[in-house]
């Protein structure tokens, strides 16, 4: 039940994209953790640049998307820059399509 809810939340988070990279935050590896306790979801996530306005929208978007999942009563999103995100966290298939494979 809990695992299913985590999966549903992760799925819902795919509607949130990083505008620059154009891929969703789950495939990009921005979502570090999704934990469920009762109806409360705690999401720990990152972004590429602290202080960038996009970062607030990613956080907000994740909260909105997670809250809309049936079974979720409240959603908490924590932004962290530890450990910092690196392109190695991207899903391999997505990484290739972003042109990362070609360089470095």
């Amino acid at each position: 039940m809990t695992d299913q809810l985590v999966e549903r939340v992760r799925d819902a988070l795919r509607v949130v994209i990083d505008p620059e990279l154009g891929e969703n935050i789950v495939d990009l590896g921005f979502v570090y953790d999704v934990a469920v306790a009762g109806g409360t979801v705690r999401i720990t996530m990152t972004a590429t640049t602290p202080g960038c306005p996009a970062t607030s929208f990613l956080k907000d978007g994740a909260q909105t998307a997670a809250s809309a999942v049936p079974g979720v009563v409240s959603a908490d999103v924590t932004m962290t820059f530890e450990p910092p995100w690196t392109p190695s966290l991207i899903e391999p298939t997505v990484r290739a399509s972003l042109g990362f494979a070609a360089i470095n």
Binding site: I17, T48, P53, S56, G61, T64, S67, V72
Partner: protein, 486 residues
């Protein structure tokens, strides 16, 4: 301070039928800041600077005005470098176009550089008003000086006072913001702002001296400090600031690791020494009525070292990049080529002893190839990015959104940038060959390029290239052309 009006509606948003999204206690107090650690608080995300787009639009309007003057053959090369018509052209470009575009970008980016909110949103629009009014008065003063308007000696001092007030608001706003956490690129901005103060101080003395209100000291400064004013403005304020911002923008958009502070500090030190030598050393030579050659040569060596170190830093960013190059970066490379070209041209002219007669060509390449080229490329990117944030940021998580890339059509924009840069290079040759008419033709070609780029930018603001199903998802509002809606 952290909660921008434009984002306030996020605070109490409903998450679905009957559900209130619970925010962490800290986020209720200050949406953008991490609550617990107050001193070292860094901002998680920033706001959208409301008036940045108005600065960009005003700046582009002045750029088009400058091009019109060049096509019409008003100012250098048709007239002398010191002629009033040239002074009009120079300040339309330096203040109207480059300084306003830079200020608009800095209001958005300094908070990102230091991860702190802007000191005051409220000072941004008054500064634009003062700068515009001051520039108009200054230009009218130059025109009166050249006999194009009835004599009115008070116009230049009036313009100077308004400009000092406008730049003062900018310097306070950005300076206080950057001072709170002066990391690598923010230090470039701080040195740039200090150079802006020096530039404005010299300019004010000139303006009062031309009005006959500055006494013998003012006259002595006017007679000898014009190169110092020009170097502090173009080299200190515009170039060092553009360098600082470019470090962060390039590594952000190419996902390259940041240039290490230790490394960029050397680049900045060379640039800062060039400015300090010029301004400080130059002032001493004026005070003691000495020659300026030694001081300016030393400054030139520092300046060249700064450009070379910057080249090394850029090479590092490009080498470690994780993404293919987008249009704005490829076009920025053309402006880096112009910076290198200007350095080589400067060395060549000095060694042939012809810098004085060809300084127009040198400054033209630096101003239009390097500074304007870089600013145009970055405007294209920044405007797309900000337009995305304004339009789609608020609906993220509720509906599918396009990517920033979907707002632009790079294949179409490339040709306008190519036309622009090719015309700048041809124009430099026309100036070197002392062919004023050929220069006017190249200015017309530059205008074609700029009008094309402006047209692309307007299309971005109007979301014209976004495919219809994603264009305006439910809840999204189309952006205004000139400012960020709240």
């Amino acid at each position: 301070m952290g909660t921008r009006p434009s984002l306030r509606h996020h605070k109490e948003r409903r998450g679905g039928p009957g559900k209130i999204i619970r925010m962490t206690p800290g986020s209720r107090r200050n949406f953008f800041a991490e609550p617990e650690r107050d001193d070292e608080t860094i901002m998680i995300g920033g706001g959208i600077s409301r008036w940045t787009m108005a600065y960009f639009a005003t700046a582009l309007t002045w750029l088009l005005a400058a091009l019109a003057l060049m096509v019409a053959g008003i100012g250098h090369p048709a007239t002398d470098l010191a002629a009033p018509d040239t002074l009009v052209l120079v300040h339309v470009v330096c203040i109207g176009w480059l300084s306003l575009a830079m200020c608009g970008a800095l209001f958005q980016f300094v908070p990102v550089l230091v991860a702190k909110p802007l000191f005051s949103e409220g000072l941004v629009l008054p500064a634009l008003g003062l700068l515009t009014a001051g520039l108009v008065a200054l230009l009218a003063g130059f025109m009166a000086l050249g006999g194009r308007l009835p004599s009115a000696p008070w116009l230049l001092p009036l313009g100077a006072v308004l400009l000092v007030a406008g730049f003062g608001l900018v310097v306070i706003n950005l300076g206080v913001t950057a001072w709170l956490r002066p990391t690598g690129p923010a230090r470039f901005v701080l040195v740039g702002l200090a150079s802006l103060c020096a530039t404005a101080a010299f300019g004010t003395v000139f303006a009062f001296a031309l009005a006959g209100w500055a006494g013998p000291t003012g006259d002595a400064v006017l007679a000898r400090a014009v190169p110092l004013h020009a170097i502090a403005g173009l080299g200190g304020w515009l170039t060092l600031t553009a360098m600082g911002v470019s470090y962060r923008l390039l590594s952000m958009f190419m996902l390259a690791p940041e240039v290490e502070d230790r490394q960029s500090r050397l680049t900045l030190a060379a640039g800062a020494l060039a400015v300090v030598t010029t301004v400080g050393g130059g002032a001493v030579t004026i005070g003691f009525a000495m020659g300026q050659n030694v001081v300016l040569s030393v400054a030139a060596i520092f300046g060249l070292s700064c450009a070379a170190l910057y080249g090394r830093d850029l090479a590092g960013i490009f080498r470690d990049r994780k993404r293919q190059l987008e249009l704005n970066t490829r076009m920025a490379i053309l402006s880096f080529a112009s910076l290198a070209g200007a350095a080589v041209l400067g060395i060549a002219l000095v060694s042939m002893g012809t810098l004085t007669s060809h300084s127009g060509a040198f400054v033209f390449l630096a101003v239009f190839g390097w500074l304007s080229g870089l600013v145009l490329a970055k405007l294209y990117k920044i405007i797309a990015f900000l337009t995305w944030l304004e339009t789609y940021g608020p609906v993220m998580g509720r509906a599918p959104t396009p990517r920033v890339q979907d707002l632009v059509t790079e294949s179409r924009a490339t040709k306008w940038f190519a036309i622009y840069h090719l015309s700048v290079w041809t124009g430099t040759l026309a100036l070197l060959a002392q062919e004023p008419n050929a220069f006017r033709v190249t200015a017309a070609a530059m205008t074609v390029g700029v009008v094309g780029i402006v047209h692309e930018i307007i299309r971005i603001r109007r979301l014209e290239d976004v495919a219809p199903p994603l264009r305006l998802p439910a809840g999204a509002a189309a952006p205004h052309l000139l400012f960020a809606k709240s």
